[in-house]
Symmetry: C2
Subunit: 222 residues, 2 copies
Amino acid sequence: MALVAEAATIGRVIPVWRSKLLKSLAQNKRLANSRYVQLATVRPDNRPANRTVVYRGFLSDEDDSLTFVTDSRSRKVGEVAANPAAEVAWYFPETREQYRISGNLTIVDAGSTDSAMQAARKRVWHNMSDPGRQQFAWPHPGLPRHLEDPKAWDGPAPGPNDPVLDTFCLVVLHVDEVEQLKLKSNERFLYRRQAAAAGAGGQAEEATAQGAVTWVEEPINP
Amino acid sequence: MALVAEAATIGRVIPVWRSKLLKSLAQNKRLANSRYVQLATVRPDNRPANRTVVYRGFLSDEDDSLTFVTDSRSRKVGEVAANPAAEVAWYFPETREQYRISGNLTIVDAGSTDSAMQAARKRVWHNMSDPGRQQFAWPHPGLPRHLEDPKAWDGPAPGPNDPVLDTFCLVVLHVDEVEQLKLKSNERFLYRRQAAAAGAGGQAEEATAQGAVTWVEEPINP
């Protein structure tokens, strides 16, 4: 186990796993589905849920959380409220790598009072495609189809500068652990947030807020 | 909600979702990674685990369970013993479809006394590639890499007719529910095993053994 060498930027260090992930995204960018990841959560009945979602970028240059979007009426919103734990499995076909990224989820809905998170929600809405935005005006996802008016699917798509629909939620994954598996070279690396000294949870929170988080890298057997 | 029209074969009906999945596999077969799926389970601490695994076929022509393989030393073996619930997310890039497949897992290890399952374990071992078989002779997966002799990775690969290594496990997903989402046409279908009448669990088991399982199809909103 070794402390990770980190590239310094203005004001903070970039975790090695973030740099690696950005490199993988660049190397696989000819494939649209290299931005599709599988997000697993746990339902209230202790069974897993797993679905494909589109990666919408890191939360910011300063925050290594991953972002996705969801509909406020989808089943996962209630499930995440009961258990925020999540693990993303992300396979890159071109480079033959897998990342497993785990942490806790926050759902940012229309009622969220966190101004930074609301700003992120608006920014991601703005950056969506028109068909992507249109889905949030569709009928309730998952309900029986025959109850719906066929014309319910044909409404105009909201534009990038139209008001954010109330059904539009930002999903933020606060990352605690990342595992990278490289199938070509049979290498496997584990990255873990450095634990705060002497079990001081409060100190760890503070370190995060100050951007002083340390990550530990460990090469493990594939 | 409507009973599914099913194609009759010798001795039993094929569930519509199985026929659809086989068609999707055929339509996507130029992509090796169209056989890679993400398998989610729940850890004993109620956090989800999610990893990419290779689909190894249906258990048999008569049994609609999906098969995968794992190493007896991997963390998921203990996790599945504590909670067998699983959900597979399977994205097909060529046809732009997602299947979510949920049910319970059985791990068939070297000590399993079920002769049909042992036969399936041997068959899947036989059908693996040489590099695929070789991994089961590697050092303990997930342990720190620096503890290992570099030469530990270079042993000869067992051949298809060599004895099955004890570390080799068959993973069987007994399917209870399937959801298909077609992104091109914005269609979504839910397939559920027909519940046994009046809560008679024993009867449902019997129906399964006789191949008389009924699946219910429901079109739902995307």
